[in-house]
Symmetry: C2
């Protein structure tokens, strides 16, 4: 440690949380709308300063609950963002977290400090405050990498799902079409999912078998 | 931002740098030996506090040069370490970087603030200060994951190398033996390396062809 800097360092530490889900066939991010200058009317990731006795994960969990109403998510550290001018109010280094949520009907609710909270499609984001556009982009890149070498897609799917739903999640995140036969062979070979014995019936399709993940926790496995 | 905390937050931000190489057939980390209490005589990763107008990558580069003499390395962000009691002197959140170095004869040189600087084998580390043992472990895990889906091993090898050397690097990091024929087939199929046309002659072996990486920069590719 360079001691003579210890008393003079004037940098704040914040956390930001990028929540991602799939709805209406596309990736969405959870954003809050700012009320105050200099970002009045702009949207941002939920975020705020770290408390003194608080690890960053705990801060992200607290802030997510307060600013969006979202609880019980598995947050993972994304990266630390540190451009010296990323916050016009002064130097703030931000530790960013991300999480994947299934498209459940979350009861979103923000505080009076913000105007609104809602999901925004990744391809049609509004203007974001701070460097949050970059944070969202890095979160999406990380997720696209991670679904290829882990079972992390379970967190984007309902408890029971069809193989078509599973393939769609991969196709949406990787932004390419996958061969149905190869995809299903690979998924079966990996033994990550098991049939529930139930089927889903739709108006236009024949009944499709419903599956579930054997384990709904992170496992490292070469999916593709 | 929670405004009423902005003026009272009393947390410092530091950076730490985990330099990893392979020498004598095993992974090694670059450590400096501390002179002052409370860690007198213990070893630590090079590290120190962030300057106010300095991005963390620049701080890590500066500190690495000052404390170890190492320059011109490709540092990548590992993770941010934030246990509230990781530093006995007060709350310090540390942004950790890592890099892979080839086993060149680096001219290591520390400042008078430290007693020594040297490479330590990963499996026989001395007692480390702060949470640096955890940082080293996470760096090794990251490297083991990354050599499987990128060409990052180039940074651990000399410019020209044999296929046996390349395989040994994989075996040391993954801690398992690889089948020679499958490994060579896979490496050839990936077209990451090309023959130099030269051979290396040894006392006990027949001449081995020397190869080099086509690109000595990060590429994403499924190696294994």
């Amino acid at each position: 440690m360079v001691k003579h800097h210890a008393s003079t360092q004037n940098i704040k530490i914040a956390v930001d949380a990028a929540m991602v889900t799939i709805r209406e066939g596309d990736l969405h991010a959870l954003l809050i709308q700012m009320k105050k200058s200099p970002f009045e009317g702009l949207w941002a990731l939920p975020g705020g300063l770290l408390e003194e006795d608080e690890p960053t994960l705990k801060a992200a969990t607290r802030i997510l609950k307060t600013q969006t109403g979202v609880t019980d998510v598995f947050l993972e550290q994304l990266a630390t963002f540190d451009d010296v001018d990323r916050d016009p109010a002064g130097r703030v280094v931000s530790v960013a977290y991300y999480a994947l949520l299934s498209d459940q009907n979350l009861d979103l609710k923000t505080t009076e400090k913000y105007s609104d909270v809602r999901w925004w499609p990744i391809r049609k984001l509004p203007t974001l405050a701070y460097d949050h556009k970059q944070v969202v982009q890095e979160a999406i890149q990380r997720i696209a990498a991670k679904i290829q070498y882990t079972n992390i897609v379970w967190s984007l799917l309902p408890k029971e799902f069809t193989l078509t739903q599973l393939q769609h999640v991969y196709e949406i995140i990787l932004r390419k079409n996958l061969d149905k036969r190869n995809f299903r062979k690979r998924i079966h070979d990996l033994k990550l999912i098991k049939p529930t014995g139930k089927t889903r019936t739709g108006m236009a399709h024949r009944p499709a078998a419903l599956y579930q993940f054997k384990h709904r926790k992170l496992e490292y496995v070469q999916v593709m």
